[in-house]
Symmetry: C2
Subunit: 140 residues, 2 copies
């Protein structure tokens, strides 16, 4: 999956696939923003991701089995991206990042509230969200 | 703290300071490996971090208030790095990354056990670890 990993530590291996400034943002937008087409991910990106970076990271996420690319049944010419179970299980990681950022980074008030809500939802709330994502993304 | 952040989303702001392949590994080694000197962090690095990258990331972590650099009272010529409260609060993030990696990445058996232990410790276990880190790192 990763050629010549630097070590077998699970934190290292996870960072080898998620440890850059863009990958988790794409996952965030698919999870919480329900964006599943390339153009949505590109044009609605609050961080103004560049099209070549988006294409590269989507390709890598597909390779690593974190997302799946398929023809969109409702738009013949479009591809639709879906989260896999493996990726859906990152919800608690993103929730913790949001909680930590809400507390320690200079976020705006609106974002602070949303970040805290996500963090404070706790395992029960994250499970509900994961169940919802499974229903939306894992169905055939 | 960050000049011209890409957005005010707490996940984005967090990734702007932690979203690279090395920063969280240095924090991991300080938290779980009790490494607090430059040479230890360099020479014991399982991922063979390069000395210039280590120096750069330590400098940034100090700038961002995640670690503190001081003269080591027991080794006159050495600097010692300490975690700040803000950084100690990343324990649950690292625990979740370890848990996810243990489950989904091709880790060795030994690492799988250690990763699961950290993840399964849960909020109570993480609080104990955080308390221990506070006692070791935050004292004057």
């Amino acid at each position: 999956m990763i050629e010549s990993p630097r070590s077998n530590c699970p934190i290292n291996l996870t960072l080898e696939i998620l440890g850059d400034k863009w990958t988790l943002l794409i996952i965030r937008d698919m999870m919480f923003g329900d964006r599943r087409h390339f153009r949505e991910l590109l044009l609605n990106s609050e961080e103004h991701i560049a099209s070549n970076i988006l294409a590269d990271r989507l390709r890598r996420l597909v390779e690593q089995g974190l997302i799946v690319k398929a023809n969109d049944p409702s738009h013949k010419q479009k591809s639709i991206y879906s989260l896999t179970e493996k990726c859906i299980q990152l919800v608690p990681v993103l929730a913790h990042l949001a909680g930590w950022g809400s507390q320690h980074m200079p976020v705006t008030e609106e974002f602070r509230i949303r970040g805290r809500q996500l963090a404070d939802a706790g395992p029960e709330g994250w499970n509900r969200l994961m169940e919802h994502l499974r229903q939306t993304h894992l169905e055939e």
